[in-house]
Assembly symmetry: C2
Homo-oligomer: 479 residues x 2
């Protein structure tokens, strides 16, 4: 298809809401937050729908013209799912960003996919409500992307992941039809769970154009305990014991070295005094219906931490103290990126909770086996760890590239042996398609492919994401 | 296929674990708990697998021989999903009933599908754990059926439905392949949510042969408040206010007349003194971490009830008081069945919580419009009501049959207008396939059919359930 005819077709649908010629602007839509710049690919065009009908028209045109379409929210993904792997058109939802309804009677909201997650939180706060399934990137991610990836986050140990909060969705299919799935109801077994099939399908089975999300009462009281452990084993014991508290809303793990280096990289006013000897840190958050409950649970948590050999570094129920602790935790992935640039790999493995100590010990083995520094941090309560190997300064990029591939294969294989899997919240995206067979059997991958083909016969919606591109396997598909 | 060749093929797979000739035994597997006996259909054979390999071999044979297969657990379904609509073979999981593992470290169990739900509860009790997603029929239903229907139950208002607790499953596909979906992990975004697609698919997309279920700490304290309201509007106000309590684990609604008649039908020692004037009753259950918390929440609930115009009929924290209240609630569907026999229709509509008062008022309209008694009861906290029209003694069966069809069409249409749907936990089964288009659009039904065809090209797994049988629409399919 020529540039002119594409321009005409997309102009007919989107008017001025598109980018076609500005290469610098187009390039901005060819990356997300995945570490490796090798995934970058500039799209031919970016379109900004403001209505569902435009999205449906786009997909009909995509099928006619065999043009790949990649949906995109905030571009905060960590596995390349919003990068146009096969070129074509990026469909950015940033102008479909209305909060349509805050339904305080039913405790539900109706939103468009381009709403930035923290904006929804700001709007919910005066009503004493919040969206509990939000991920750590709430300041930049969009609700549509949260749902497309089934995002988790720092509070999933208590509140679960995004999927638990999505009650309904309007979805445009790969062939341009509009589905109404679920709705404002707390139970629904009418028909197959097409809604749950769409959630977490990484923009490969449909495009969300409207969402019904369940929200919950904001906890009246919170407390944070940031604590240091002389060794990881003690921290793991602490995790297992702390999980018994019903008030527990977060347990984040950061290895000692990573916490200290990240802390040193913060502006001096934001730094926390961290003990040099500690091998592991836990950020523990509790929430509850009132301050008495949280104070009682906080005392109990403190005793658990001390029994497990930990010491409190920072504790507080005031907003600044809590923010200081979270700032350190949230800065960790930025620190790994700053020191290793494109040459780091932010992983997202998950293991059964009882296998957490084995996973942490295995990271020690990986460090010495591959001679690379590895930051170990993440959502310990769920067994979901962001293990992040980084290229040592002295290692050549070519050696890094073979090293990280071998390391990931060993890590993923070990995680599978422990009963875990390769992604808990970031997704397969483009980054992990080549490793999918380490986590899923041939039958499961074949069934995914059967479903993808049934919904997207011309393979035009986000090809190359979630599943290895069929054309790479010698199968013939448009796009 | 002749009887002899079927006998040989099934005997090769199942040995003595089958019924082929005993018509009386076969007929027992041709019904479930759906009211209308018109759904009954005796299968040609019943097989009792004890291994996954046998289930896979059965499905391969079913495809070769074009024989429909209907999976069955406890036969407690209320919509005919376990009745062999197209004849063929019933695959009963009653001998695949092992509790393989109670994993107290990970708070998960691994079970076979034929485990009776209350047996799992008995085994979990000594560990201080329970399976929170169980339905009201826990004494007869099986875990596999709970999962196949995404069952809800009396505690879903606090704990959610079965789907929220299923972490993994071994599934035999309609074509006889064995899938391993999910596992012992609290987060998993590796691949499409095939597990969630299978859950609630009513035995039409796969047969569960093993399940990984999340269990939770048993609440240390519980309290029940059974209360009477002079009118339904007051009870609805009570429901909305009581839902704010985090300790609330059940709010069951029973209309006044139905509660009194059910109560009169109980053995005298089990009866409760119910006020004659009350128009609605609520069974409220609270649970929590200790008796202090439950006592505090119980006092608060009592005040809410009184403010809404209700009076306490029965209250208690002891097992006998709680059992007495629940016995009355659980007896309601049996009472409707006893007085109306096959001529009653136990419905399962669900509406947004804010629409509960409108739904209750609408039932008054239906009673006077169609001149039939209607029991109104169910899980008010979720907006999920078991509205049960019953044939008046004087009405001829033929008139009942046209009346109930018209009544259901009006009810389903109104529920859809209120933002609800036709089934919250019982499923579509065979009973509601003809009404599916009142709840789902053509696009959604077409997508269900696309998925069904992709997984079950010969339409041999439970044809005629969940979706109208394609052959009835003039499409050609085996079976």
């Amino acid at each position: 298809m020529s540039h002119q005819s594409r321009q005409r077709a997309l102009g007919d649908i989107f008017g001025d809401n598109l980018i076609l010629d500005d290469q610098k602007q187009l390039a901005r839509y060819g990356v997300d937050q995945v570490g490796d710049q090798a995934y970058a690919r500039t799209p031919l065009a970016v379109v900004f729908p403001t209505t569902t009908a435009q999205v449906a028209a786009l997909m009909r045109w995509a099928n006619q013209s065999a043009t790949p379409v990649t949906p995109r929210g905030g571009g905060s993904g960590l596995a390349g799912a919003a990068i146009p792997a096969a070129g074509g058109v990026v469909c950015s939802f940033e102008r479909m960003n209305r909060i349509i309804e805050i339904d305080t009677q039913n405790l539900m909201v109706v939103v468009e996919p381009g709403v930035v997650t923290s904006r929804l939180d700001d709007e919910l706060e005066p009503h004493g409500l919040f969206f509990a399934g939000y991920p750590m990137s709430e300041d930049i991610c969009c609700i549509g992307g949260n749902v497309a990836e089934n995002a988790g986050g720092g509070r999933a140990v208590k509140y679960g992941t995004t999927a638990a909060y999505v009650l309904g969705a309007e979805v445009v299919t790969p062939t341009g039809e509009v589905l109404q799935l679920g709705g404002k109801r707390l139970k629904d077994v009418t028909g197959y769970s097409l809604l749950q099939l769409m959630i977490g399908s990484e923009g490969t089975l449909g495009l969300f154009t409207r969402l019904v999300i369940r929200v919950v009462p904001r906890p009246a009281a919170r407390a944070v305990l940031f604590c240091a452990f002389p060794d990881s084993a003690g921290a793991c014991t602490g995790v297992a014991e702390l999980k018994r508290s019903r008030a527990l809303s977060s347990i984040e793990f950061i290895d000692g070295q990573t916490a200290r280096r990240t802390n040193e990289g913060l502006p001096s006013a934001q730094r926390t005094a961290l003990p040099e000897q500690a091998d592991a840190f836990l950020l523990v958050e509790l929430d509850g219906a009132d301050e008495t409950e949280v104070a009682r649970e906080s005392d109990a948590a403190r005793r658990v931490i001390e029994t497990a050999g930990g010491t409190l570094v920072l504790t507080g129920t005031d907003q600044p103290s809590m923010e200081r602790a979270w700032k350190l935790r949230k800065a960790v992935p930025w620190w790994t990126k700053r020191i290793a640039g494109s040459y780091h790999s932010l992983e997202d493995v998950v293991v059964p909770p009882a296998a957490i100590p084995a996973l942490v010990v295995f990271c020690e083995h990986l460090r010495s086996e591959y001679r690379v520094p590895i930051a170990v941090f993440g959502h310990a309560g769920d067994g979901n760890f962001h293990i992040t190997p980084m290229k040592p300064a002295a290692m050549a990029p070519e050696e890094w590239s073979t090293t990280i591939d071998r390391l990931l294969r060993e890590l993923y294989g070990h995680v599978a042996d422990l009963g875990g899997t390769i992604s808990g919240e970031h997704g397969i995206g483009r980054k992990r398609t080549g490793y999918l067979s380490l986590a899923l059997g041939n039958q499961e991958i074949a069934l995914m492919r059967t479903i993808k083909r049934a919904l997207d016969p011309n393979n035009v919606l986000n090809p190359g994401v979630a599943l290895p591109n069929a054309s790479l396997d010698g199968e013939s598909h448009v796009g």
